[in-house]
Symmetry: C2
Subunit: 551 residues, 2 copies
């Protein structure tokens, strides 16, 4: 219908993660963000969760572009999987986001799958597919984030992406309130605003405050300082590096994703590190503790990460010592709390002092709190509001903020993933609800990223599923009885299942011989080894669900 725009969130509503929104009119559609999320514990055997691409597959001929608001995994992580499924003529992103995405596409062998177009927020409007589009700089916990304003047949639509109003950002690039005000003055018909921290009163502290805390804490320390943070938080890393420079410490980067992000950041000018400040892990031994700063991954207590392995004395180069200070400069993603606590306890057992966000101001959020959202609402004065990015409670909180700002209740759309919202004549309303789900990615941990299995949540793939049940004696880790392998949708392959059973026994014996008895690690090893065996024998990739029961 002319004069109508359809907004369809395919992810990120009712959840934190896998953000993706379709902005569609009769002349084609543009996808804003292509994020992934991480599975909950009940999703055994799943590595990643993607949005449901069904709608995009069904409208493959109409996709004009993907616009990425910033480089976090929950906004760009699904891009390679999307590009594999449908043709996307252009991918638009700012410079750092493009740098991160290029590296990701390269790993997947997809570097030439789409034209990559750089967003220049300070330049004028651009034509993206059927829309005239303006980009607005937004401060966030990764540099180079933008909001996107679309001129569409149904009206002007603004998607904020993730943001905070950081008046003193580390790189000096503030949320561009002037441009937002200008958009508001011209008239915004529909705002899709980040809801993550809408429940939280007040304002989020500036990223700069973490640097101040580092500058306060680190000079007092006489031993090594280790800082774990999100690999993509380039400003956090920069602030740590600055303190290292000022206090005569060399910096060692440990963890693949951290090294990758810092490299990309340096190459593009987002991270400033003198070459002679950096040392390799094998050079650490030659340094005195008070000359050492280690930046590492593992702030979420991930079982195979650098920090976890150091905590468990399982890292080839670094083992935690009593004089160490470990700063966990991140907040556990909901569901990761116990893992992070386990890591902290293990670090404390090794004698280290551990500073984490529960007890010291070593982390700030990248999302604006209620008062910041109120400011955005006041600047944009949208006719209609559709809260996005967040669990339902967060969307409901932004709804209340919008009501307070004067948006009438009937102009606020609480949508879910798959809701079709039509914007026409200055009014947004729910027109339809698609039957959407999620797509699970089950990659062999050790395998090639190009060679993972994608499964629709609603259907088992034809490859079937193997459930491997192992019961273990809790205290001494002695295995009780033989493992059992149950197949579903896998045919009657008795000998192969017996082989899988033996592979499981072998894997367990290997793990126990190396003193690996943590349940998650055992599950991961069984998953990878049995998966590899089946792939080798049959070329198929059943979902492997290792169930390790401690009795």
């Amino acid at each position: 219908m002319p004069g109508t725009t359809r907004l369809i969130p395919l992810g990120g509503l009712g959840e934190v993660g896998k953000n993706m929104t379709v902005v569609e009119c009769d002349d084609g559609l543009v996808v804003v963000d292509a994020g992934l999320s991480f599975p909950r514990d009940e999703h055994l055997g799943v590595d990643l969760v993607l949005p449901d691409f069904t709608y995009l597959r069904e409208h493959r001929g109409e996709i004009r572009a993907v616009v990425l608001t910033h480089g976090h995994e929950d906004h760009v992580g699904a891009l390679p999987y999307l590009l594999r499924e449908v043709d996307v003529p252009q991918v638009w992103a700012t410079r750092l986001t493009l740098g991160l995405v290029k590296s990701k596409l390269d790993e997947h062998g997809l570097l030439r799958a789409a034209e990559l177009v750089e967003i220049e927020p300070e330049a004028g409007p651009a034509q993206v597919g059927p829309y005239r589009v303006e980009f607005v700089r937004m401060a966030h916990s990764i540099p180079d984030a933008v909001a996107v304003a679309f001129e569409t047949p149904g009206g002007r639509v603004v998607l904020t992406g993730d943001y905070k109003i950081d008046h003193t950002p580390v790189d000096g690039f503030r949320t561009d309130l002037g441009k937002l005000a200008e958009l508001g003055n011209r008239g915004v018909d529909l705002l899709l605003g980040d809801s993550t921290n809408a429940e939280r009163p007040g304002v989020t502290e500036s990223e700069r405050t973490v640097g101040e805390v580092f500058r306060h804490l680190i000079p007092q320390r006489e031993g090594r300082v280790l800082i774990a943070s999100f690999a993509s938080n380039v400003h956090r890393v920069q602030q740590a590096i600055d303190v290292a420079l000022g206090t005569g410490r060399k910096v060692c980067l440990i963890g693949r994703s951290l090294r990758k992000n810092v490299n990309i950041g340096r190459n593009l000018g987002y991270v400033d590190v003198p070459d002679d400040l950096l040392v390799r892990p094998d050079e650490l031994e030659g340094l005195r503790p008070e000359e050492t700063m280690i930046l590492c991954t593992g702030s979420q207590g991930e079982p195979m990460s650098a920090l976890t392995r150091m905590a468990y004395h399982d890292h080839p180069h670094v083992s935690i010592e009593p004089s160490d200070t470990v700063i966990i400069s991140a907040k556990p993603v909901p569901g990761n709390e116990l893992r992070v606590h386990d890591t902290i306890n293990r670090l404390a057992k090794s004698g280290a002092e551990v500073l984490h966000q529960e007890i010291a101001p070593v982390h700030v959020s990248g999302h604006g709190n209620a008062e910041e959202i109120r400011t955005i609402l006041a600047l944009l004065r949208p006719r209609n509001v559709m809260p996005v990015h967040g669990e339902f409670r967060m969307l409901a909180a932004q709804r209340r903020l919008a009501l307070d700002s004067g948006v009438p209740s009937e102009r606020i759309v609480l949508a879910e993933n798959g809701t079709v919202v039509e914007l026409a004549g200055g009014v947004a309303r729910i027109a339809d609800q698609l039957d959407t789900g999620s797509t699970f990615v089950d990659g062999l941990g050790v395998g090639d990223v190009r060679d993972v299995a994608l499964r629709d949540r609603r259907h088992l793939s034809e490859d079937g599923v193997l459930i491997v049940v192992v019961t273990m004696g809790g205290r001494n880790g002695r295995e009780l009885g033989a493992p059992e392998v149950i197949a579903r949708g896998f045919g009657d392959s008795g000998p192969l299942l017996e082989e899988a059973r033996q592979e499981t026994e072998r894997t367990l014996a290997d793990c126990l011989a190396q003193d690996v008895s943590e349940l998650k690690l055992l599950q991961e090893h069984i998953h990878d080894n049995v998966g590899q065996l089946i792939a080798d024998r049959t070329g198929r990739r059943p979902m492997i669900l290792p169930v390790v029961v401690e009795v």
Copy 2:
């Protein structure tokens, strides 16, 4: 050895929960606290976790008494199980704690298993087994908490129990700093101090502040107000009731444990509620929303609790409505975060406004922060310190506070569960390490509490284990393929396993027919029904491990 005392923590070290400490000399032993903890998600099929009673069984003839510091489950919950295993001549506790414990023992048919002796903190010293003992009032999130000072052959030993230094407690019973100072002046040889909040800087806010928040929030509300808190937090309940009185709302108590605790509290004079303030759930319909306050259980998002059922519109009397305000006046125990978030989202979906501790000051901790622990250390000036009650990171934090207070490093004992600490000649040192574990309680959810199965973590009971594997279609909850039942240590009972399989199918069909598709609920129903079937057929109680895999 004369002049020697042995302290043996059997629970509560390296964990939050199941606190239990043995205070032993040649003339017998006294057990301080007998707590339980709740299982982590990886302990499938376990309802409760108890301390390992092996040491107490081996020294059954030497047990003189159990002293309970307060009535929380992590300090008294294992008492019935302990009394069933060994003879305990006396159980000492304050009046409210005794009231709560009596009701618990009554349920287990153990009311006459031990002499129950009331602690009167204001009275002089008492003789408890071989020791002269003094009790000191401590403020906590349940009334009538005490610290315990033992005169032992090895020296004076003070166990704080759980405490905060609340200068304005709701009941006026402050932590008795004067008596603590007097003990300190007389000389304390060993302090076993609560470490729960040792990492947190500053002081914990007074319980009274929550009442102030209630008084601020509730009069503004035009709809119903629901408050979920821990059932045992009598002061929290009293403060809510006081606001109800002041604002013309009737109070309805929903949830078995809450009604029980309030009844006991009223009978003993700890809770003050006019009879005509209370209404039954079936009377709610006759009240206007602004006349209604509902106090309920479920602050941890427990699947079968009142609040969860109201949130899912599955409660016989109350269903959440858009004008409701729900206050979750508690903090999620680590590991429960996702459940609590799910509940909040569900409440928000029903249109309610939800106030929880992440976004509003509707909860305070019952444990003292670092500055309060420093105060206790300054008052007692102990020669030796052994941090108790907490994960390792918390014990390590109290160690640092003790160091700051002037206790030398070699006089601070970082023990684990099962560590034997000897106190002699003013010096505490680690003498031995017992091989202790945990005991898992696997009660049929619907069964009689006298009839549960206890299993040592280190050994499967002879009853064996049944693993029930179910794969479900995620979105529509359609079951894929037949459930599978795997037996371990259960003999070759093919027909019974087939029956169990059918029972599982029946259970699933029933659940889905009633639209119950939450994984945890399905697991619980399978656990209970299959367990009941096996118990009926064989009189045995295998551990039932339902594994529901969503694919």
